[in-house]
């Protein structure tokens, strides 16, 4: 039935949940529970990651179809199925989620000391929801996962966050939830029309142009907030600032990709005409996002906020790439999503390293860190450079492809995207200079220890992937080449058909 011979995707999705249940059943005094919870969570996430590597090996890169498909009748009377499957667009995001989760658990090893059990459960549930969302082939199923992701994240920010955590958690929750209400309406509409919510069948059912506009706007309301696109981005900096380090990593690494994934998975294939119609609008918002948030990042005094704003700018590059509708732009957008997942996650971990030692995110409190923490300075520099898209590191191929793709559509849009290169360099180097360079002014900094073995273990895989993605990007691009080609071809065919019908 599928390439693995067993329901791999369901296993990947629900294995973390099993781990969570095991943690839930542990009894004993607090220290024992905490230690057990940590180890169980780590092992569960590692096993999940190991299993997900089967996808890497067995995924057929030549095919644009959904693979590893599982299908069970869920509510047959209503045409609802439990359907899972991955194609070139989603497969690497599953891997991204399973790759980052163990690192996050490691990163929380010593920093989370209260309610460790609940924290680990929240993380495992979060992994289930993330993986499920990327695998879902049924729109309703997708919606369930898409919304359910919010719950553990809400708890992680609200319970283990910083001083203003409750405010940030509610802001995060409401912003992202409320957009989705409209999407639910749109899903109901599609369901009503087609009698099914199976994504593959929906793709085969053309939607009238007038209706596409409405559905697009409904989707937009949901996805744009998740991306986040300007001007609905302000929940993100607050959420990041208050979230614990590992929460920020997942938020930036995976959750931000959900919106863009939604555009790619639903808006583009289901609503080709509306997408084409709204493309100029999307370009405008994206370019504004790149320039506006880069400037705002330049003014930040809080390390996490700065990186959060830089995420918005990078996601602007992504949405821009998606709406170019050509292979370069789409591949670039996908690649930027992946690289941003790794690099911004790593940057938040870098901030976490300092935060764990000094308990401050204020940039002005640092300076001269390179002198006492040379290994850390090197790692931080590497990810800073990856973030400014230095060739040879992960950020570059995506940005290159998006700019090349955007030029095809409109050279001025490409110029707008490219200004991000200058501004990005400005705010990241400014951050690095204020944190790592200069003379050590404060005595408390002089006693800092360089990275511990645990921290080395967290960063090593991220460094390897960053270099790998920068030096040999083709090994990742191969995964989505066929799917992207098909997506572009279908899009053009749909537009061509619409034009014919209009004549």
């Amino acid at each position: 039935m599928n390439a693995a011979g067993f329901p791999l995707l369901s296993l990947l999705t629900f294995l973390p949940l099993v781990g969570a249940l095991i943690i839930l059943s542990v009894r004993g005094d607090e220290a024992v529970v905490a230690s057990n919870a940590r180890w169980t969570a780590l092992w569960t996430s590692l096993i999940t990651f190991a299993l997900s590597l089967i996808l890497w090996v067995q995924f057929d890169k030549g095919s644009a179809d959904f693979q590893f498909v599982e299908r069970l009748a869920w509510m047959p009377n209503f045409g609802l199925n439990y359907a899972m499957g991955v194609d070139g667009i989603s497969v690497l995001f599953v891997l991204l989620a399973t790759f980052l989760t163990p690192l996050c658990i490691l990163a929380s090893w010593e920093t989370i000391t209260s309610r460790v059990r609940e924290y680990m459960i929240a993380f495992l549930v979060l992994e289930t929801m993330m993986v499920g969302m990327f695998c879902a082939l049924d729109f309703v199923l997708f919606y369930v996962f898409f919304e359910a992701v919010l719950i553990p994240m809400f708890l992680i920010i609200g319970v283990w966050g910083g001083a203003r955590r409750v405010y940030a958690a509610f802001k995060f929750f409401l912003y992202t939830l409320l957009g989705s209400v409209l999407m639910l309406l749109a899903i109901l509409l599609l369901w009503y029309r087609a009698g099914t919510t199976d994504i593959i069948q929906l793709m085969a059912t053309p939607i009238p142009a007038a209706m596409q506009t409405w559905v697009f706007l409904a989707f937009f309301a949901s996805f744009a907030v998740k991306v986040p696109m300007w001007p609905v981005h302000t929940w993100l900096p607050d959420a990041h600032v208050e979230a614990p380090t590992a929460g920020s990593v997942i938020l930036a690494g995976v959750l931000l990709k959900m919106g863009a994934y939604g555009f790619l998975r639903f808006s583009l294939p289901l609503l080709p005409e509306a997408s084409a119609m709204f493309a100029p609008f999307m370009f405008t918002l994206s370019v504004v996002a790149v320039i506006y948030t880069s400037f705002v990042a330049l003014a930040q005094e809080d390390m996490k906020k700065l990186i959060a704003y830089s995420s918005v700018a990078h996601m602007g590059i992504v949405t821009l790439g998606i709406f170019t509708f050509n292979a370069q732009g789409l591949s670039g957008a996908l690649y930027t999503m992946l690289s941003h997942g790794i690099v911004s996650g790593a940057l938040f971990l870098c901030v976490g390293v300092l935060y764990d030692r000094v308990h401050s995110r204020e940039i002005a409190r640092y300076g001269g860190v390179a002198k006492i923490m040379p290994a850390y300075a090197l790692v931080f520099m590497l990810f800073t450079m990856a973030s400014v898209a230095l060739p040879g590191l992960a950020g570059f191929p995506g940005e290159l492809l998006v700019i090349v793709g955007a030029w095809r559509v409109n050279p001025w849009v490409a110029l707008g995207a490219a200004t991000g290169m200058v501004l990005g360099a400005a705010y990241m180097l400014f951050l690095y200079r204020r944190v790592a360079f200069g003379r050590i002014g404060r005595d408390e900094l002089k006693a800092l220890l360089d990275m511990s073995p645990r921290e080395h273990a967290i960063f090593a895989p991220l460094i390897i992937v960053t270099l790998w993605m920068g030096i040999y990007p083709q090994s990742f691009l191969d995964f989505f080449a066929a799917t992207v080609t098909q997506l572009v071809a279908r899009h053009e065919a749909a537009l061509g058909a619409a034009r014919l019908a209009g004549m």
Binding site: V181, A221, P231, L401, P411, A418
Partner: protein, 638 residues
């Protein structure tokens, strides 16, 4: 051999960078020097095989990106153009590594320094051996990174950090245009690989973009990119500040190699530039203006390294206008000889600074020539070569460049010729001003410093002597190959001159006074400097007081930094702050809050809404979205 020339430096960088702590300072120094020496051996033999033996080669390594026809490979392209650069870069870099062993001996983190230096060399080699624009961009940005790291090497100095950031960001401004040029190149030719691109150039002569010819636009965009890296007028402000880095860095990166990458790019893209006359005219004018502009500033600066930095900027202008009039070979020839004598001058200056206990201000030097005779001698050689005095290296290349400008018979060419001649005069003048103020006259340093003046160790002198030999002989040996009778066989098609471009022949038919002019002008400049600073040392001060406005204008570098600060840096900061505090905090976040309170007030009494933040957000978000969609639809349906 081909692979070794490029990858030995990377090996050295890796060893020193990651294992420096275990290897120790001495071992990591010498391991990088050894790797560089091996690379130089490979580079030289590659030069012999490819350039002299006429056997170009391309070595494909692996696919980098392949998306729907956008195909990029990692590959090493060895033709005459790249091999000239490879040989020059590896040779000079080896000497500078060796020199650094002596120069950086008191530094605390030498492995880091040598790792950066080798990393730079690797990136530069990747740049010159690139087979396509993306790999070239990889090297391009890589050298930028290494330059950033090395300028900010002493990161405890605020000024060094500022200079490093400035260098990176100004370079990035150029890189934006490079990137756009790359995109347009792809959509014009359907490839960014050099060989295929150049082969199909005839089919794309008429292509247009935004109402302009595509080839012209590509030329201009790439040239703007080159302006950033090669510090041409407008984007030059980072180069003088880059002198914050250790002196060997200035010699290697900011004189001999990296800054010439822009010239290399223009030469590499010569088939396209040949079809883009407007772009070439722009190149000529910008290059000529830079040559003159930087020379004027060089005349009044007091920091020994900054004088040489402006001199570099000016000489890069020469290279560009040579390329601009179509004499790419001449540009590369000047690049080649310049690498020797400019590296020599910088290293000589480093030797002076070393001797003077890290003093860089030439007003505080003087009277030291007897104490450091070897340094003094090599500074003379370097300056003679720079001024274009006959039979030194600079004489051949500078003469050729000026003759080419004259022979082009275009308005831009004449402008370049005139600017070039004036700049040649100023060059000779400031070179001897530097020598006289530094070495002659009464000592102006304090007693303590003067006692410590000493000649440098052998690791520093050997490179100086070798470079001095290069500065004396490189011109005479290679002139026939680069621009003389054998140029066609030597270049072997690596640089393309269009069918209508006969400049390589016309150069030899200019009137008899043209080849003589630079020499005469140069000697006049030397004479003036001698008269002003040696015979009548009170006059310069009087002149500065008399023409105070002009003096200040030059001393402050035409006020470029102040201007940019006023129109870019400060507004950007203000804008950033405004967008954050007003745009994000007050408007975007304020809208939900404001709408919420409006709703609350309006409906208080009628409807009982739960008060508090949560509800207000919920409510306002919905209202905001509905309003947003309605407005948009009203606009869309009309």
């Amino acid at each position: 051999m081909f692979v070794g020339a490029v990858f030995f430096p990377l090996l050295g960088a890796t060893l020193a960078g990651f294992f420096g702590r275990w290897l120790g300072d001495r071992a990591s120094q010498w391991v990088t020097v050894l790797c560089m020496a091996l690379a130089a051996v490979c580079g030289t033999s590659a030069f012999i095989q490819v350039a002299l033996g006429h056997a170009p080669a391309v070595i494909e390594i692996v696919t980098f990106i392949d998306v729907a026809g956008f195909e990029v490979n990692w590959a090493l392209r060895y033709d005459t153009l790249s091999v000239v650069m490879v040989a020059m870069v590896t040779f000079i870099s080896t000497l500078i590594h060796l020199y650094s062993v002596g120069y950086m001996s008191h530094d605390q983190t030498t492995p880091r320094f040598f790792a950066y230096l080798s990393l730079f060399t690797f990136m530069m080699l990747m740049l010159v051996t690139a087979d396509n624009l993306v790999q070239l961009f990889f090297g391009w940005e890589g050298v930028g990174l290494a330059s950033y790291l090395l300028i900010g090497y002493w990161y405890e100095k605020e000024s060094a950090n500022r200079a490093a950031m400035k260098a990176f960001i100004v370079n990035r401004v150029g890189d934006v245009f490079f990137m756009l040029g790359l995109a347009l190149t792809y959509w014009t030719f359907g490839t960014i690989e050099f060989a295929t691109m150049f082969a199909s150039i005839d089919q794309h002569l008429g292509d247009t973009i935004l109402g302009m010819r595509s080839l012209e636009v590509i030329g201009v965009l790439l040239f703007l990119g080159a302006c950033g890296k090669s510090a041409q007028l407008g984007l030059h402000t980072w180069l003088p500040d880059a002198m914050e880095g250790p002196t060997p860095v200035s010699a290697l990166i900011h004189a001999a190699t990296m800054v010439t990458a822009g010239v290399f790019l223009v030469a590499r893209m010569s088939p396209i530039f040949e079809q883009a006359p407007v772009a070439l005219t722009i190149v000529t004018i910008v290059g000529a203006s830079t040559a003159l502009f930087a020379a004027t500033i060089g005349c009044v600066q007091n920091d020994i390294k900054r004088i040489i930095a402006y001199s570099t900027c000016s000489q890069l202008g020469y290279m560009f206008f040579a390329a601009g009039v179509g004499a790419y070979q001449g540009a590369i020839f000047h690049l080649f000889t310049h690498a020797f004598f400019k590296a020599l001058l910088f290293l000589g200056a480093g030797s002076v600074i070393h001797a003077m206990s890290d003093e860089q201000d030439i007003r505080k030097m003087g009277g030291i020539w007897k104490k450091i005779p070897a340094t003094y001698a090599v500074m003379w050689v370097g300056s003679l070569a720079l001024a274009g005095v006959p039979f030194f290296a600079g004489y051949y290349s500078k003469d050729f460049v000026l003759e080419a400008a004259y022979a082009s018979h275009s308005v831009a060419g004449m402008y370049a010729f005139i600017c070039g001649c004036i700049a040649a005069f100023l060059t000779a003048f400031y070179s001897w001003r530097l020598i006289i103020l530094t070495f002659h006259g009464a000592p102006r340093a304090d007693h303590h410093t003067m006692e410590h003046v000493h000649e440098s160790p052998w690791t520093m002198l050997v490179p100086l002597v070798l470079l001095a030999i290069g500065a004396m002989a490189a011109g005479a040996i290679f002139v026939e190959f680069f621009v003389g009778h054998e140029w066609e066989a030597f270049w072997n098609g690596a640089i393309v001159n269009g069918a209508a471009n006969h400049i390589m022949h016309d150069v030899h038919e200019v009137p008899g006074w043209v080849p003589l002019a630079p020499t005469v002008i140069g000697i006049a400049g030397i004479a003036l400097a001698y008269a002003l600073y040696m015979l009548a040392p009170q006059i310069p001060g009087q002149l500065a007081a008399r023409f105070h406005g002009v003096y200040l204008f030059l001393l402050n570098k035409w006020y470029f930094d102040e201007l940019y600060d006023r129109i870019f840096v400060r507004p950007a900061r203000r804008l950033a702050y405004t967008l954050w505090k007003v745009g994000d905090a007050r408007i975007i976040d304020g809208m939900p809050n404001g709408a919420a309170s409006l709703v609350l007030e309006g409906t208080r009494g009628a409807v009982r809404i739960q008060s508090g933040r949560v509800a207000s957000y919920a409510f306002s978000m919905i209202i905001g979205l509905v309003a947003f969609i309605t407005i948009f639809l009203l606009g869309a349906t009309r």
